[in-house]
């Protein structure tokens, strides 16, 4: 069990926040005691699959399940697309985003390109705050070495993805999306594919990312390009007055 003071959420969402991440082997009593002692305004507890005892007990403390997160991984040794997707590959290109392109990405995020994360779907926060949280997150990750890649189809920019090199051949695909209001919505796989191709070009052996059950199309898309589920977590939240 690990408790983190998520101080960045004060800037992002305007609330004090603690995130408690449970492990499969945690003692139930210890987790409940820790959950009860949390004093910030926005509380997040992550419970691994199989620990339904924790899932049920924590809900008795006023927490509610807001999403289930799949942590997924893909081996990069072989990159092959199914025949349905393969015909698009020759017309897909990607490049590191320029400063101007990063601004477009941030505009897309502010405009609501992400609508299914737990903050966007939480009435306590709503879309505007969730979008600003993503913008801050992107800025922080760029400072920590992540890079934004732009995906183009036949020379037209259609979306973006954010990739981070964790070293020793391990890459992390943070998130990505197609741009809004374009006609390429069927190419949802393309931004995910860009991360695979770029990570492999940069010497990656595996890439990991996370997807939420609140975005089933993204879950399906990532599985369709070869990701495999590694870990499943219930995410529970609670809003309360600061203690």
């Amino acid at each position: 069990m690990k408790s983190v003071d998520a101080h960045w959420e004060k800037r992002n969402l305007g609330v004090t926040c603690t995130e408690l991440t449970c492990e499969v082997g945690d003692e139930t009593a210890a987790v409940l005691a820790a959950a009860n002692a949390l004093g910030n305004e926005y509380l997040v507890i992550k419970v691994p699959a199989k620990r339904t005892d924790l899932l049920l007990e924590i809900q008795r403390l006023g927490f509610a399940v807001i999403e289930v997160v799949f942590r997924i991984r893909r081996d990069l040794r072989t990159l092959e697309l199914s025949s349905a997707y393969a015909r698009f590959a020759k017309d897909l290109t990607s490049h590191a985003a320029t400063a101007g392109e990063i601004e477009r990405v941030l505009d897309e995020v502010r405009g609501g390109v992400f609508q299914t994360d737990r903050c966007a779907l939480d009435p306590a926060f709503a879309q505007g705050l969730a979008a600003q949280r993503y913008c801050n997150w992107i800025s922080d990750e760029l400072e920590r070495g992540a890079e934004i890649y732009i995906t183009a189809f036949k020379g037209v920019d259609i979306g973006f993805s954010i990739l981070k090199d964790r070293g020793q051949g391990q890459f992390h695909g943070l998130f990505g999306a197609l741009y809004r209001d374009n006609k390429y919505l069927a190419l949802g796989f393309a931004v995910g594919w860009t991360n695979l191709v770029v990570a492999k070009q940069r010497g990656g052996r595996t890439i990991e990312t996370a997807v939420s059950t609140n975005n089933v199309p993204a879950v399906k898309m990532n599985l369709s390009i070869g990701y495999e589920i590694q870990e499943v977590q219930y995410v529970l939240v609670k809003h309360q007055s600061q203690r």
């Binding site: 006609k183 919505l185 069927a186 190419l187 949802g188 796989f189 089933v216 399906k220």
Partner: protein, 79 residues
């Protein structure tokens, strides 16, 4: 099996809808199952059913039940 039946069967199999859903309002993302993965599945079923290979632009433009009928005409398939 006539072409309309093949066309409708592709939609029903790909998106798990019944006949009542097969109308002008059926479009990309109008139902949960017609997402990007469902779209490619439907295209593969249609290509198999009509023994055709569609161009990428046509796959992208295939945005609705009605639009698909006009696109298939380019491949000699009258629905």
């Amino acid at each position: 099996m006539d072409n309309l039946t093949k066309y409708n069967t592709a939609f029903k199999e790909s998106f798990e809808v019944d006949d009542a859903a097969l109308n002008a309002s059926l479009a990309y993302q109008s139902i949960a199952t017609w997402d990007s993965v469902g779209h490619m599945k439907m295209i593969a079923v249609l290509e198999d059913a009509f023994s055709i290979t569609m161009d990428t632009e046509d796959i992208i433009d295939f945005s609705s039940y009605d639009k698909g009928k006009s696109i298939l005409q380019k491949y000699g398939v009258a629905v």
